[in-house]
Each structure stands twice: as structure tokens, then as C-alpha cells.
């Protein structure tokens, strides 16, 4: 390569990089969790009603971008749980996620994920899971129900483990698990994003929730 070309390329590289990175200077939205009021469903007296301790709960996701596993999380989500291992028929689980609260640590990427071709948060501000039955499994529990993301509702089985412990005189619940989803099942990826070359179809959602008994 001639030196004039090299110099021109180098100068151009710097200019392009600066231009491309200006939008990234904007700070990420501050973390603020919300928790829903306790379930008011027809839970039996044997199932304990819980509210989310948002400060000690995480809802994360992993996806493959350009061959590498990348992580993100949702800052805002509400969980309504009525649960008791001994009263599974009366147990209920509902999760509502504010899709715009997604955060992968990069403003450009987050804005792209919020756009119409991906999560389309303007049109579909919430993703929702409503369990219709909770059953025991070898590893823990299975919440079967309807999962709605980007306006598409599909039957989903959300696996989780649950344990509770006494802390300062009250019972604190811990719910955790992982769910494998395929983003294209929910239309997350229109246009060129239907391709799974750059961003894989599989998305692993991980949840670790701390729950406090509802008063």
C-alpha cells in the first residue's frame, strides 16, 4: 500500500471512529427496579404470597454475538408469586418485564435491541409470563404457562428451584433458574436480523429472585 493511501486510511479511521462513538457517550439509564403488589389471585390459604425484593433480584440473558457469548439484563420487572411446595395447585407465578429496561452495557447495542426490528419496545413495552400450573420436577419445579414477547404468545415451561429461609423473623424465598428461548420464535429479529449469523437464535434467560412474604 502506498504511503499516501496508508495515511489517508489512518486519518479516515480516526474520523470514522470518533463519529461512530459520539452517541455512545450518553450514559445508560439508571437502574431502578419496580415491584408489583402481591398477587391477589385466588391463591389457596396454604400458598404464601410473595413480593419481589427488586434490589436483590436479577433477570439476565445470554446471547451469542459474532461467535462470542454476551450478557445483558433487565432493570425493571415485576414478579407476583404465590407459592408453597405443599400447595402447588394453589401456586401462581406471573412475571412482567419492562422491555425498554434492557441493558447490555452498550448504548448503541441497547438502542438497536429496543428498535422495531428487534424487541420493538415502543409497540410492545412489556413481556409477560403467566403460569397456569406449577408442578414438581426432579430438579425443582416447572411453571407451565404462556410467555408473551413482542406480541407473540407461546406456551413455555419455566424451570426453577425454590428455597426459603428465615431471616429476621420472616421467611425469605429464593427462586432461580434458566430458560432457553429462541428469539425468532417471538419475531425478535425482523429484516436482516432474521439472520442468525451475527446474533444467534438461542437466548438463555437466567433469573435469581429474592422474594419477601407479602404483608
Amino acid at each position: 500500500m502506498r504511503k499516501a493511501e496508508t495515511a489517508a486510511y489512518a486519518t479516515r479511521t480516526l474520523r470514522c471512529m470518533l463519529a461512530a462513538c459520539v452517541p455512545m457517550l450518553a450514559a445508560a439509564a439508571p437502574a431502578a427496579n419496580t415491584s408489583a403488589p402481591a398477587a391477589n389471585t385466588a391463591a389457596g390459604s396454604a400458598a404464601t404470597r410473595y413480593t419481589l425484593d427488586a434490589a436483590h433480584s436479577t433477570l439476565e440473558y445470554q446471547f451469542v454475538q459474532a461467535g462470542a457469548r454476551n450478557k445483558g439484563l433487565f432493570h425493571k420487572f415485576a414478579v407476583t408469586l404465590s407459592f408453597s411446595p405443599s400447595a402447588l395447585p394453589q401456586s401462581r407465578l406471573e412475571v412482567v418485564v419492562e422491555t425498554a429496561s434492557l441493558d447490555t452495557g452498550d448504548q448503541d447495542r441497547d438502542d438497536t435491541m429496543r428498535s422495531a426490528d428487534l424487541l420493538d419496545v415502543a409497540q410492545y413495552p412489556q413481556a409477560r409470563f403467566s403460569a397456569t400450573s406449577i408442578t414438581r420436577t426432579a430438579a425443582g419445579y416447572d411453571a407451565a404457562g404462556k410467555l408473551t414477547i413482542r406480541g407473540v404468545t407461546r406456551v413455555a415451561h419455566v424451570p426453577f428451584t425454590f428455597r426459603s429461609s428465615e431471616q429476621q423473623g420472616r421467611s425469605v424465598g429464593y427462586l432461580a433458574g434458566k430458560l432457553l428461548l429462541h428469539r425468532l420464535d417471538f419475531g425478535i429479529g425482523q429484516g436482516e436480523w432474521k439472520s442468525t449469523d451475527g446474533v444467534g437464535n438461542e437466548v438463555t434467560v437466567s433469573y435469581a429472585l429474592q422474594l419477601l412474604p407479602a404483608r
Binding site: 500500500m1 504511503k3 496508508t6 495515511a7 486510511y9 489512518a10 486519518t11 479516515r12 479511521t13 480516526l14 470514522c16 471512529m17 470518533l18 463519529a19 461512530a20 462513538c21 457517550l25 450514559a27 454475538q65 459474532a66 461467535g67 462470542a68 457469548r69 454476551n70 450478557k71 447490555t104 452495557g105 452498550d106 448503541d108 447495542r109 438502542d111 438497536t112 436482516e192 436480523w193 439472520s195 449469523d197 451475527g198 446474533v199
Partner: protein, 184 residues
């Protein structure tokens, strides 16, 4: 042509590494420029992924190159060089070697700090070099950009010097990095 270096000329393996890295650096400049011009999308991700994979390849080749240089004789500079030319030649070469490491390392730090994991051509994933950190990302991006300009300038100096050796001084400094017949 010998595989190993002699004090008179570079061996085949050193030449292969030199010219392979030249090609990869040119590829890097092109990939970076294409990627930066693209709107956010699948193609931009793919271009940057290639840029990162090629960068990691250069880093690995740089390690091999330094090791090979250390295990081999180094061709000596012609006696006709003035002391300042000798010093300039050494400084240029040291700078080029340092940049072969600094460019990929700052790039890797930049992408890790931004929270983008890196894979090598999708075959395996590298660990995050540094934790996610916006300020560090900005610092590394500026360093990577600046070093790209420094690399461009240093390469120019390197090319001008080799051309001067070949056409003005008429010595074999350029020829001994080319797969030509040995003249002596």
C-alpha cells in the same frame, strides 16, 4: 532459501511472518473502515468480528515473530550507515514490534471494556481482557485510534527507508527481506 536467518539475510520463516503481517495489517485497515461506515446491523457486527479475529491473529503472529527473532541471528545493518541512521532504524523497528502488540491489545481491551465478548473467527471465545468500564473503553478507543496513526506513520518511515536502501544506497537491505536469490 534457508528457513532460518543468517547475519546476511532474513530466512524464509521470518520473511513469511513479515509479509503475512503486512497483508493482515492492510486487511485490518480495510475492515475497520468498512465496519465504521456501515449502519448498526448484522454486517457491521460481522465486519468488526472479522477485524477482531484478524487482530488476534496478528497478536499471535507477533509473539511467534519475536520468539523466532530471539532464536535466530539478526541480519546486520550495512556498515555504510551513519550512527543516526542506525539509531533511527533501531527505533523504527522497536516501534513496529511494540505496535504489533499494542494495537491488538488495546483493541481487545476496548472491546472488553465496552462489554462485547470476542471470539476468534467464531471458533473459540476469548476471556474478557478487562471488566466492563465506560471510561476505560473511551480511553482505549482513543489509544487504539492514536496508535493506528502512529503505526501508519511508522510504516511510512519504514517503507521510505527500505526504498532509499534499494534505490539510493543500492544495498541489499530490502532484497534480504524478499524471496530473491542470494547474491552472496
Amino acid at each position: 532459501m534457508r528457513i532460518r536467518n543468517t547475519t546476511a539475510r532474513w530466512g524464509a520463516f521470518a520473511q513469511l511472518l513479515h509479509w503475512l503481517i503486512v497483508l493482515l495489517i492492510i486487511t485490518q485497515v480495510i475492515l475497520a473502515n468498512i465496519a465504521l461506515d456501515l449502519p448498526v446491523g448484522v454486517r457491521k457486527i460481522a465486519m468488526f468480528a472479522r477485524h477482531k479475529s484478524v487482530g488476534l491473529t496478528i497478536l499471535a503472529l507477533a509473539v511467534i515473530r519475536v520468539a523466532w527473532r530471539w532464536m535466530n541471528p539478526t541480519p546486520v545493518l550495512p556498515d555504510t550507515l551513519r550512527p543516526y541512521e542506525r539509531t533511527l532504524a533501531h527505533l523504527t523497528h522497536v516501534a513496529l514490534y511494540l505496535l504489533l502488540f499494542a494495537m491488538p491489545l488495546t483493541g481487545w481491551m476496548m472491546t472488553s471494556a465496552r462489554g462485547f465478548a470476542v471470539s476468534w473467527f467464531g471458533l473459540f471465545q476469548l476471556p474478557d481482557f478487562v471488566p466492563r468500564d465506560k471510561a476505560l473503553y473511551e480511553a482505549m478507543r482513543q489509544t487504539h485510534d492514536t496508535l493506528a496513526l502512529v503505526l501508519g506513520a511508522t510504516v511510512c518511515l519504514h517503507i521510505v527507508a527500505s526504498v532509499k536502501h534499494h534505490f539510493v544506497l543500492k544495498d541489499d537491505v530490502l532484497r534480504r527481506m524478499l524471496p530473491t536469490k542470494e547474491t552472496h
